[in-house]
Symmetry: C2
Subunit: 519 residues, 2 copies
Amino acid sequence: MKKYDKLVKNAVGRMVPTIVNGEEHIPFKGVGKHFPTGRKYAPRIASCANYPSDGNKTVSSLKEALVKAGLKDGMTISTHHHFRNGDIIANQIFDIANEMGVKNLRWYPSASFPCHEHLIPYLEDGTINRIEGSMNGPLGRFASQGKMKGLGVLRSHGGRYQAVQDGEVQIDITIIAAPSADPFGNANGVDGPAACGLLGFALADSQYADKVIVVTDNLVSFPCIPWQIHGNYVDYVVEVDKVGIPEKIISGTTQITKSPDRLLIAEMTAKFCDQAGIVKDGFSYQAGAGGTALSIGIFFSELLKERGWKARFIRAGSNKYPVQMLEDGLVEYILDGQTFDLEGVRSMRENPGHVNTSPFTSYNYHGKGNFAGMVDVVILGATEVDINFNANVVTHSDGYLLHGIGGWQNCLFSKCTILPIPLFRDRVPVVKDEVTTICAPGELVDVIVTERGIAINPKRKDLIEKLKDSDLSIKTIEELKEEAEKICGVPEKPNLSDEIVAVIKWVDGTIIDAVRKVL
Amino acid sequence: MKKYDKLVKNAVGRMVPTIVNGEEHIPFKGVGKHFPTGRKYAPRIASCANYPSDGNKTVSSLKEALVKAGLKDGMTISTHHHFRNGDIIANQIFDIANEMGVKNLRWYPSASFPCHEHLIPYLEDGTINRIEGSMNGPLGRFASQGKMKGLGVLRSHGGRYQAVQDGEVQIDITIIAAPSADPFGNANGVDGPAACGLLGFALADSQYADKVIVVTDNLVSFPCIPWQIHGNYVDYVVEVDKVGIPEKIISGTTQITKSPDRLLIAEMTAKFCDQAGIVKDGFSYQAGAGGTALSIGIFFSELLKERGWKARFIRAGSNKYPVQMLEDGLVEYILDGQTFDLEGVRSMRENPGHVNTSPFTSYNYHGKGNFAGMVDVVILGATEVDINFNANVVTHSDGYLLHGIGGWQNCLFSKCTILPIPLFRDRVPVVKDEVTTICAPGELVDVIVTERGIAINPKRKDLIEKLKDSDLSIKTIEELKEEAEKICGVPEKPNLSDEIVAVIKWVDGTIIDAVRKVL
């Protein structure tokens, strides 16, 4: 099987394969231009007659569960990343697969982290054919070096739900690491010693996978309440000593920035939103977990407090900062897709206003709408932006694939998308002629905020008009680029081979770009 | 189209059609004997590109929503019955259909009530071809008289979910009357002037119907929390003055019995459970909304209090009695499928231990298990029981189809199913040679409690053994029948035609019995 074949130029001018790992894919056609015509994936009809009448689905070990689930060559095995760098179950699964001599698996995690470097030998020996999912760090570097046998496929959180829902990815076995579960398989992330918040990234897997295994270190009597995962989808339940390391859900990116430049960017962004009339009583926003984004949240919070306003909701990735706002009455709801610290976990457990969401509710583009379009402003990071406002979030300027897409692409559908970014990093301009990898088509990126000025997408005449008398330094994107180049010089192109190592999906399942091997 | 065709004798010896309203159906094969081989129904893949980017799906009237949804001849239109006899939306839907001249609709309610007598003219003039769903009262009488154009199909709550999930019933348009909703279509039953508790009966409809309309009289800003119905499934939202009459969710059957005979039956049932070792710390039960069942709940509650025990959960239909137990700390959770009074509604809104469930979680037989088997004891009513422990819950002894199945069939899978019933009603024996309609195969009915003695199903040797020294009057079912006949005489058979007016589905979608026209 060829890793990829039949390249065509897509609607953003990138050459992308239409055959990936032996399967047909559609090239990106433009935002909102691809209309699916099929039907959702239809899982097999189960019957209670085939399940224990007393509801007890426990088996004695993960290996037993995998064997009963029929683990064999070529299967698609999925896991979730709510433990982020504190995941321990994925490594165990492939240890077992390797021990059993199973080969050629497709691993379909909702994201992978440095803790999964352990799996590199299995990627080398063919236990795992490829990873379809975000690759943060070492696995991304491995893929960038062209060492993965199959082609990587990166999807946004919403795109992952879409791919499963639409049957593009058929999961044979999913393994859900659950901080709490009952013997029937009802499970949640808010209780138990390894509480990580919620399990939304495993929702699609639970609904559509052929076999569903829940692994927990906190087995409670039926009913496990809340049941974020429904036992009615679950085949086997396994009790283990430890299901994950919740302290490691905190990443370095969840600390407020101390860099004066980034604080300036944060302040400029908040001011921009204020002057554009976005910050108001009842408004809503989503800010990621990066240091700059967190600081913007704090500026918003201060504005609200000052004026006696209250936000309607924050879409999150939660941590202690939005939690504080919720508890201070500065926001009515946190609509949370993944908790980034233990304060987020606590709040979700205790506060009915801290609501757990999923990629289905928030991000699935192949639903009857999703939440993304209802958010007034979303603040996102980016590794690169180009003069057409196209943005990159997965590769660095040196071409290495080191980040996942997360909910980033999905969030672009908000009423206003702002990328607060430094104008250059390590003397490499961030604003350039062409991004290495297009993850966002420029038409969806509204504003770029840098420490040396703000560029508004010319399509957003309304914002340009609102800011025309602003004291903020409003520039064109070309001016920003020139300024960066004046300081750092024109950046060199990354040294890439023609060989493709991964493709980047758009939210509708089409291929928006391909990632090349780094030479 | 013939209403029905090709009768065969099924596994409980009843002659049932295998062609119903032009479609093929499978005769009952025995409990746990039918294994589905297909895949779930696959709804069309939607795209956000076809929905308002700001999430606002409101349209100005129910008629506009129905027109936009493409209402036309022959469609299947579904509604839910959380307002029970206080529903007002179903009548409006068919008023509109009639006004538009639409014909030959299949109405697929989760249940119908006397308030829907309004629809009889539409059943007569062909606006509605048939009702597939429980028919409580006048509509059942109408069907029994052979007046419905199509054949009625009665399903349990779980069977209704199964039929939709499996694609046996494909819903064209569902209309969900929601006490609270936002413009995106997120909806719940716990808030708003018409709060009725929950919306679980509309879950399958929201997930699988081609078009989904939410109707509310309490439109709130996004997000409507909790979202018992996900807006991601919803096409249109309609604001109306009044969405239902919540006071009418209380039916006559939710009052504790004052009849001395029934109180005696309740006490005997509770004693039986105690002596059988069923009542214990951490046990669980489900008692319906009938007067006797409620009284049994009170006996259980007293036992728990006396002994310092706590039930793990009550499966409900909730009302003030289980709510009191929850608030008194006598039970940890109420797992509630439908609230039967406003105290139930309040409790569900306020108490995280009062959990909303759905026919999917609780009852769907074509899931990977369901909750029914985990309940220690379930107390159900019945119109008739026979000497093989087969039971009837839909027709009276005179043959009239006056009740729905509800969750009754689904509950039979509990660890112990008890039918506390009077030995006769209006001088007609309730225990007889043969029930008019088999809704429960005898093998699933464990115990019959009457005011004149208790019969244990001979299959339950364990219970017979446990009760062998009991002071309760344990008899055989034949003895109970003889005693009834000694007092009332041998009952006459109902005066029925051969003509079939409705079929009764088993929980797996097979046909367990047929209901004949009353002469």
